[in-house]
Structure formats: C-alpha cells, structure tokens
C-alpha cells in the first residue's frame, strides 16, 4: 500500500510539473494582459508536430527540434498578438473570439498537414524507465521535463518579478497610460511577452511529444487544462501555476490509485471548485481593497 501511494504521489508530481509547462505560457499572457489565448493549446501542439517532423523526416532528437519549434511557434504567437492589437473595443471579451478562430484554423491546418494519425516519439531514451530507490518508476522524459519545468517556472518568475522588462510588462497590464509615462513602449513589452509565451509553448510541445501521444484535436483540451491551472493559481501568479499544477497532478494520480481513473476528472474539478470557494481569487490571487 505504501509503495502504491508513494508511486502515485511521485507520478502526480511529475504530471504536475508537465502541466505547469503546458499552463505557463497561457498564464503569462493572461496574467499580464488579461487575454485568454484560446489557441495556446494549439501552439503547444504545433511545437509537438514540429518535433515529430524533425524526428521522422530528419532523424533529429525531439529536443534538437526546439530551436525550430521556438522560431515558428513564437512567431505564430507574435502574429496572434499583432492581430489582437487590432481589436479596439472590449479587448478582453473579443480576444476570445479572435483566438478561438485562430485555434480552429490551427487545428484544421494541423489536420491537413499532418493527418489525423496519432504521433509520438520513437527515440528510445525518452521512454526508457528510470527507477529511483527500487520503488519509484518514471520515464526519462518525465524526469527531464519535470526538472526543466521547475527551472522554467523559476526563470519566468524571476523575469516577471525582478527584471526591468518583466516589471514593465506588469506595469503595462496594470495601467497602460501610466506605463507609457514611465518610458515604457507597451507594444514592445507585449510582443516580448507573447514571444516568451511561444517559447514556453514550444518547450511544453516537446515535452508532450516525447512523453505522450499527439493528435490534431488535442489542442482544445490542452488549453482548458492550462486555463484551469492558471485560474487555480490565481491570475498572474507564476509560483501558483506550479503549485496548482502539482495539486491537480497529484489529485488525479491519487484518485486513479485509490479509486478509479474514470473519476480523475471529477475529483480534480471538485478540488478546483473547493479551492476557489475557499480562496475566490485562486491560490495566490490578490484581492483588491474596497472603498
């Protein structure tokens, strides 16, 4: 029994780090611009397919596809931003439609280019098992991307809270005109943030491709997962993303172990609701003063 639970928690932690990678790009854009990028999951997926092409066509290792993925995905992300800036009125709401439209286009584009077959890495190393202390089992890729995930969360957190551009980005999101008065060009900072979101999506995409199975219709559920975690974290909180993701990961995994995989979704959604009802602005959300 102990082994069972230990492995379950371990799997949950790894799953959590992976979820955090998926969610981080969305959380960044949402936290700083209040824009829900409904095409985020498709960006992740796109990176996965780029890795697939690199591997199946050119025999490249999935990680070696990262530069190409970053260029293409970050560019796509920036294009989404440039389109978003053309919306003049009610940007928070209208961005839903715009990014939804883009998501549909990406899904169908991916379907046309890569067909509906399922894809996943064939590079043996990623899938080989690694055994820790005789009782904990994982795939190499899970450990690798869990480590990368934690590092990336740390890096993004540092960037947002301590660097000049990160601070500028938060300033722009808080009060655009005031930010201009500080000498900040809002467009540059926002482009930067979308590019970073694209970069994060690329890393997530490689993690996805090298550990799970991809197919063209997957994007939507990735977006939803990312969004749930972002909200659970508390909008704009980067450490919250990691903690929220791990919470969901462990809850899912424990449900599967102690109860049934069929109820994973039920339990994680209930957990989500309970957290929100106790903390209406998420785990690390901040409430505004009244009056």
């Amino acid at each position: 029994m102990f082994d069972l639970v230990a492995q379950s928690v371990f799997s949950g932690l790894l799953a959590g780090a992976y979820y955090a990678l998926i969610a981080l790009g969305l959380a960044l854009v949402f936290g700083t611009m209040r824009i829900i990028n409904l095409a985020h999951g498709e960006l992740v997926l796109l990176a996965g397919y780029i890795a697939y092409t690199a591997e199946s066509r050119f025999g490249l290792d999935p990680l070696a596809a990262l530069p190409a993925a970053i260029i293409i995905v970050a560019l796509t992300s920036v294009i989404i931003y440039l389109l978003l800036t053309r919306i003049r009125v009610d940007r928070e709401i209208n961005s839903l439609i715009l990014t939804f439209g883009i998501a549909i286009m990406l899904t169908n584009g991916i379907l046309m280019i890569w067909s509906a077959d399922i894809r996943s890495t064939t590079s043996g190393w990623y899938l080989d098992s690694i055994i820790i202390g005789d009782t904990l089992f994982a795939m190499n890729t899970e450990i690798l991307f869990a480590v990368i995930g934690v590092l990336v969360v740390g890096a993004v957190w540092w960037w947002l809270s301590k660097s000049w551009y990160g601070r500028a980005l938060r300033a722009v999101s808080s009060n655009r005109d005031a930010a201009k008065l500080m000498g900040i060009d809002p467009r540059t900072t926002e482009i930067l943030s979308f590019a970073v979101a694209g970069l994060l999506a690329s890393i997530a995409g490689i993690a996805l491709y090298s550990g799970k199975v991809i197919e063209p219709s997957l994007g939507h559920s990735l977006t939803i997962k990312a969004f749930i975690i972002t909200v659970l974290a508390g909008l704009g909180s980067v450490p919250g993303v990691l903690i929220g993701a791990v919470l969901i990961g462990v809850a899912e995994s424990l449900t599967a172990t102690l109860w049934s995989s069929a109820l994973q979704g039920l339990v994680s959604m209930l957990l989500f609701l309970i957290v929100l009802l106790v903390m209406p602005s998420g785990l690390f959300g901040r409430t505004r003063r009244r009056g």
Binding site: S161, W164, R167, A168, R170, A171, S173, S174, N175, D177, A178, A179, K180, L181, M182, G183, I184, D185, G236, R286, R288, R289
Partner: protein
C-alpha cells in the same frame, strides 16, 4: 531665458468632444510655470496632449526646439520630459516598491534606481512602511505620495505635475510644495497644475489661467493681481451657478 517647452495653438480632445481650443503657452527653462483654472477647464487634458497620451488635432508642441507633436510618449520620457499624474494612475496590481522602481525604467536612470529609491523613501517614509504592500491597498493620500515618489525616480528635465496636493493633508501639501521648490533649485523645469492657488502661487514664477480650453490669463507671478484672478475664475462660476441665484 530659453523656452524649454512651447505649445502652439493646440487643439485636442476626446472622441466626439474637443476640449482644448487653440491653446498656446510656454515654459521657460529652470522656472516653475503654474497653470490654474476652474474644474473641467482642460488642464489635465493639456498635460495628456503634451505627453502624447491623446493626439493633437491641430497645432504643434516643441520641446527644446524640437517638434514633438507626434513623438510617442515613451520616447518623450526617455528624452527627459515627464508627467506626474494624479494618484489614481499608480500601478494598482504591483507592490509599492515595484511602482517606485518602474519609475526609473528609462535607460538613463536604471543605474541610479536604487539610490533614487532610497531618496523617495526618505521623502515619504510612509511608503517605506508599505513597500511590500500592493499599491491598491494604499489610502488616497498614500497613492498620491506614491505617484509623486515614482515621478522623482525619473530624473527629468521637464516635469508636468497634475494636482499633487489632491487628497494630501495640509502638512504633506507643504512638503510637496517644498519638494517642487527643491527640484526647481536643482535646475529642473516644472509645469504645475494646482487648485490650491494660495500655496501654488508661493512657488510659481509664471502663471497661466486656463478656462474652457483657452488661456485667459498669462502673467509673471509678480504681476498677478489676486482680485482679477478671482474674477476670472468667477466668470465661469457665475454662469454655471445661474440656477442657484
């Protein structure tokens, strides 16, 4: 004295309404120019127009002889022109300290950011007590201090200050006026919009009265006649208060 800022027959406003009507005004280098005027006269709008936050519909603005009519706000700031807006324009979702630090965003000031931060804290000790608190939790006056402190991080040549005393206690209002005088002594140029006529006139060199989007009076401080100033204020009030009579 050199004219640091020249505003030449500027028209500007919001969507359907025009607020500024061919307004002209200059600020001399190293001096404190005070803009007075009744509420809704367009003083804030004028500052926003200077800073490029709203587009000019007509006219031109020159800064140090260079036309800045179409220069984006952030470039103006980089060139040393800045505005300290009213306290509502702080970054509510950031901590007090981050608010201050971002004031030193321009490349020019980044190196001095830490030193300037300490300076802002020593000017407004209240802010230091609240440094890790979210700006949104500040009281009205504290927010006003924050806006002021943030502006001090920028090391500008020309500062536009919009009603710095708004919501400040009498003691702090005096403090703020003293800071402005000090800045002037450091050779900076200041344009001050203020409702507290009394205190503003004490430190001003030149006075403009803006009403209905137009300049109705432009005088050196020495020449200001308080009664006439009041009359000019009244001109509008009498009209607006018709119903009460």
């Amino acid at each position: 004295m050199a004219k640091l800022l020249e505003i030449d027959k500027v028209r500007a406003g919001y969507d359907a309404i025009n607020v500024l009507w061919d307004i002209s005004l200059t600020a001399e280098e190293g001096k404190l120019t005070c803009i007075l005027g009744p509420n809704g006269g367009g003083k804030t709008t004028l500052m926003r127009a200077i800073m490029g936050l709203i587009p000019l519909r007509q006219g031109a603005i020159r800064f140090g002889g260079k036309d800045i009519s179409n220069v984006p706000t952030w470039n103006l700031v980089a060139d040393g022109l800045t505005m300290i807006p009213e306290g509502r324009m702080i970054f509510r979702d950031m901590t007090v300290e981050d608010n201050l630090l971002i004031g030193g965003f321009t490349r020019r000031c980044r190196a001095n950011a830490r030193a300037n931060l300490e300076m802002a804290y020593s000017t407004f000790p209240r802010l230091k007590e609240r440094r890790h608190q979210l700006a949104s939790s500040l009281s009205g006056g504290e927010a006003q201090m924050l806006a002021m402190g943030r502006g001090l991080m920028e090391e500008p040549k020309l500062i536009l200050v919009d009603e710095p005393s708004l919501g400040l206690s009498p003691l702090l209002t005096d403090e703020v006026m003293a800071i402005l005088e000090q800045l002037k002594a450091q050779g900076r140029t200041i344009i001050l919009v203020e409702q507290n006529t009394h205190k503003a006139l004490k430190i001003a060199d030149h006075v403009y009265l803006v009403r209905g989007g137009k300049v109705v009076l432009s005088e050196r401080k020495e020449d200001v006649d308080m009664d006439r100033l009041h009359d000019l204020y009244f001109a509008r009030d009498v009209a607006a208060n018709r119903q009460d009579a």
